[in-house]
Each structure stands twice: as C-alpha cells, then as structure tokens.
C-alpha cells in the first residue's frame, strides 16, 4: 500500500479526503444521526433516506454526511456512505470501525478513533428513523 507523505495516510484516505463521496445534506431525510465530541474536535452528521429492496427489506437508499474533523474523520465518513448505500438497515448497522479502517487501506494508529464516529453516526441515523431510543455514545 502506497502511503502519502502526510500523516502516513494511504492513497485511499487521501482520495476520499480530496473527493468526498456523498457529502452534504438530505432534505427531508428519514433519519439523522448527529455524533461528535467537541473536545476531540470531530463532529459528524449522517442523513439517510430509507427505501425497500426486491425482498421488501428496508435499505439505505441514499446517504449523505457532513463532517467537521481531521482527514481521517472525513475519509471515514465518505467511505462509510459508499459502503452503506444499498445495504439493508440491519447490514448497515453492523459495519464496524475495523471494516472502515481496512477499506481505507489502514489508518495511522492515533487516528483509529476517527473511524469510530462514522459508524456511530449511521447507527444513530437508523435509530432515529426507527424512532428508537438513542444509545449513549461512548466517549472518544
């Protein structure tokens, strides 16, 4: 894996940072997940539009993100939206931070925490859609 000079970010991280996918806001979103920790500096918002697949299962039909954070946080958010799009809600909920980090070609050790936030944002958006009680988000 080729590492860029900066922070040892991989090319995939840099690509998502430079050309973030699905960045922005969904008007009338079905679910919104707002997570973050101002002390650490990363703030993230995930918007989802829910649809149904051929089997009638609920899927992430559209997803967008807004992130105030470092390169790893932006890249993780962007990559998560790519992964989650088209997944059933149950599948999407199971995306782990390891999967995100792996798909990014790895993250510098001190940046692993940045990939946690994206998954939590999505979980919160799904919970928000389902009208569920939001679980307490752990500190980072």
């Amino acid at each position: 894996m080729q590492l860029s000079k900066f922070m040892q970010y991989t090319d995939i991280v840099m690509d998502h940072f430079k050309n973030p996918r699905n960045q922005g806001e969904i008007e009338n979103a079905d679910g919104v997940g707002d997570v973050g920790n101002p002390i650490c500096g990363d703030m993230l918002k995930i918007y989802i539009k829910v649809g149904k697949n051929d089997q009638g299962q609920e899927i992430v039909e559209d997803i967008k993100f807004q992130t105030l954070g470092c390169g790893a946080a932006i890249a993780s958010s962007s990559l998560l939206t790519e992964m989650a799009k088209g997944m059933t809600l149950d599948e999407a909920k199971k995306i782990t931070r390891e999967e995100i980090a792996e798909a990014l070609g790895g993250l510098p050790k001190q940046k692993i925490h940045c990939s946690v936030l994206a998954g939590e944002g999505l979980n919160k958006a799904i919970a928000n859609y389902k009208g569920e009680e939001i679980e307490k988000v752990e500190e980072h």
Binding site: K5, M7, F17, G41, Q66, T67, L68, C70, Q110
Partner: protein, 409 residues
C-alpha cells in the same frame, strides 16, 4: 512552489552557518578533548563558538555549556538544580514554579520529579492574551521554592513573557531572604536563594538575550530554531548557580554535560549566534513583521469568522496563531500541504493526542476553537510572493471545509 511557514518548528540552515561547519565535518575532525594538534584544532572551533555565545548572553566563557539541544538543557536545569538542593539537604521537599504554557521539556520533567516525590510544582496560568503575571508568580513563591522557570517566548502563540520583570522580582525576593537570614546572625549561602531559568528557544532571533539585563540565572537556547543545525543547544549558567550533573562518563563542560564535543554542531550554533550578534537582524525582523501583518490583513479581508489567538501587541514578529471557526486544523493543514504550504496546527491532535492545545486551553480558548486554529511562523527567507500565494490559496480551502461541516449555515 513550496512554501515553508513553520519556522517555530525548525529553521533551515543558513548557508553561512554551513560554511563555518564544513571544515569540522571533514579536515578538522579531531576530538576536541585530545591533546594533539587534531584535537586542538577542533577545540579552537568550540572556543570560537563559546565566544559567540558569551557575546550573546553577555557572560563569561565558563558560564556556558553546550548540550544536544533545548530538551537536554531544560532537563539539566530542572533535574540538576533539584539534585544539588537534595544533596545539600535531603530532609526538605523543594518547590518549583513554572507555567501552564511551557514546552513539555519543562512540564514533563517537573511532573516526573513530582512522581518521584522530590518536588512539588506550581503551574501558574496565563491571561487570555497569553501572558503570565509577575504578581501571580511572586505570590506563588514559598520558603522552599528553589526555581522559577518561565519561557521567554511561547512557541504556539509567540507571546513575549515579562522575563526581565520576573528576574528583577526574584532578585528582590532573594535579597529579602538573605537579609532575614543575616538578621538571625547566620550566613546566607547558595542554597538559601531561589534561581530563575528561562527557556529562550523561541526568543533568540527576536529578543534581548543579555543575561544580566534579563536577571536570569539560567537560559536555554537551541541551534535549529536560529538557522543553525539540529541536535545542538546550549545552557547559560550564572556563576554560583548550584547544578549537579545528571549524566556521567566524561569531564567535558565541567562534568555538567559529559560526552564528546559535537564540534561541527557547536560551531554551527556559534555561527548562528554570530549572525544574530552581527547581522542586521532587526532589518530581517522588520521585514518579517511587515509580511506577517500583510498575511493577517489578507486573511481577515478574505475570510470571515477568524480570530487571532493571543496578544498581537507583544509577540514575536514571526507568529500568527489564528482560528477559522467551523474548519478543523488537520484538514486545513492537509489541504495547505497539498498546495505545497507547510504550517502547523494549534492543536496537538495531529501528533497523536486528542487533547486540545495546552497553551490555547490555558488562555481560556474553548476546545472547538483550539481545534480550528493554525499557526503560521515566518522566517527571514519568507517572501512577499509566498504570502500572496497563501492569501490566494487559503480562502477556498476554508470555504470547502466549512461546506463539509454540519454547522455550515
């Protein structure tokens, strides 16, 4: 075009410095402690460098030791003075006063000695402009205080601390201490005084460094912040200041800093100091100030919701520390790096810690603003074209990141 605006991190080697160093890396390679001619040639270089530093500090040759850099100088100060006092009287627990905005090479050494149960430390705060208060330091002095260590110029916000005023205040406190001892018909000695150290790493290019003027007992400087080489620094030690060695294995530098002389490095440090002593440094500094102010104006005119961290009035001419609300430090750093512009973040996040900058936090800057802060530090090689380029490149970067943020409205 690649633009370097991170001169507080390190400076490029001045070509005149390199020229002075070169013979000591090749033909004059001797060990300066050897008695033969090779050694003596090398020692001549060390002596020459010592002379330059003696001019800078206005001190005697024997009041200077060369070290591997500021971190070592600071360790020698804190550990060495505590050791000397402990050796004199083991019964007592000693007290050190320093500030919350010091470099980790001071803060962490104090914390370590605290852990070892050798000292207690008071970390004085700063006001929102980034200055320590002489009165607060004075009020913190106790009977068992042996050292006050305050940095001359802060590395993050560039604020110039009132070193001379602190030095004078400490001198008065010492006079009172001595008078009180003599009133009880005892003789006051070395261990009845408290000592004053300043880490002047970020100051040497811009501020008065004369030790008697500053009323400082100990002064730290570093080579690579003043267009000299990395891996070399020095420590001014006022005659009579009690310091015990923290390293053994050689007689060099009065046993305080044993180890083979880093001759080329020492000569490089001397050459860098010679430039400060002789060259029209004030001219450089005026140019740096003009460009710095142009950059501030340019940023303020083109970007809204920006805030300068710390006093602009009393800071070195090279520094801007500025917050861009709703943009994150590392992302800005990354995007500027892609444009070939090297700066640094106000937060330590990029270096692995999640904590906001301890300096900005001590100034009462909220964490969100700490994470949105950037530090630009100009140098004597910075050009107007470079500043123009930054003013051109920065606004679209900030706009892009703000659009990405959930708070953009």
């Amino acid at each position: 075009m690649s633009i370097y605006l991170d001169h507080s991190a390190t400076t490029p080697l001045d070509s005149k410095v390199l020229e002075k160093m070169q013979p000591y890396l090749t033909s004059d390679f001797g060990n300066a402690s050897s008695s033969h001619s090779f050694g003596q040639e090398a020692m001549k270089g060390v002596d020459w460098a010592r002379e330059q530093l003696a001019n800078l500090f206005g001190c005697q040759f024997k009041e200077l030791i060369f070290t591997s850099g500021a971190t070592e100088s600071n360790n020698i100060v804190i550990q060495g003075i505590v050791k000397a006092f402990c050796a004199n009287n083991q019964e007592k627990k000693y007290h050190i006063i320093t500030s919350k905005i010091e470099h980790p090479a001071i803060i962490e050494v104090c914390q370590e000695l605290e852990k070892q149960g050798l000292i207690e430390t008071t970390f004085v705060g700063v006001d929102k402009e980034g200055f320590v208060s002489v009165d607060e330091i004075k009020a913190a002095i106790k009977d068992n205080t042996i050292l006050v260590s305050i940095m001359y110029v802060n590395n993050e916000v560039g604020t110039i601390q009132p070193i001379r005023e602190i030095g004078k205040m400490i001198e008065k406190v010492n006079k009172t201490r001595i008078k009180n001892i003599e009133l009880s018909s005892k003789k006051a000695g070395t261990f009845d005084k408290l000592y004053f150290h300043t880490d002047a790493v970020q100051a040497a290019n811009y501020c008065k460094m004369n030790a008697p003027y500053l009323h400082a007992d100990l002064i730290t400087i570093s080579g690579h912040k003043i267009y000299g080489p990395k891996g070399v620094g020095a420590l001014y030690i006022h005659e009579g200041t009690p310091l015990k060695s923290i390293n053994w294995g050689g007689h060099q530098e009065y046993n305080v800093r044993p180890g083979t002389y880093n001759v080329s490095g020492i000569v490089g440090l001397g050459a860098a100091v010679e430039l400060i002593n002789n060259e029209q440094f004030t001219m450089h500094n005026e140019q740096i100030r003009k460009l710095r102010d142009k950059l501030i104006e340019g940023i303020k005119n083109k970007i809204d919701k920006v805030k300068i961290n710390g006093s602009l009035g009393n800071r070195v001419p090279s520094n801007i520390n500025i917050a861009f609300e709703n943009a994150e430090g590392e992302s800005m750093l990354l995007m500027l790096d892609m444009e070939g512009i090297a700066i640094s973040t106000g937060s330590a996040c990029a270096s692995g810690s999640l904590e906001p900058s301890h300096v900005l936090s001590a100034m009462g800057v909220p964490p969100v603003i700490c994470h949105a802060s950037l530090r630009f530090t100009l140098g004597k090689g910075t050009t107007e074209q470079e500043i123009d380029k930054v003013i051109e490149v920065l606004p679209p970067i900030i706009e892009r990141l703000r659009k990405m943020s959930p708070f953009d409205k």
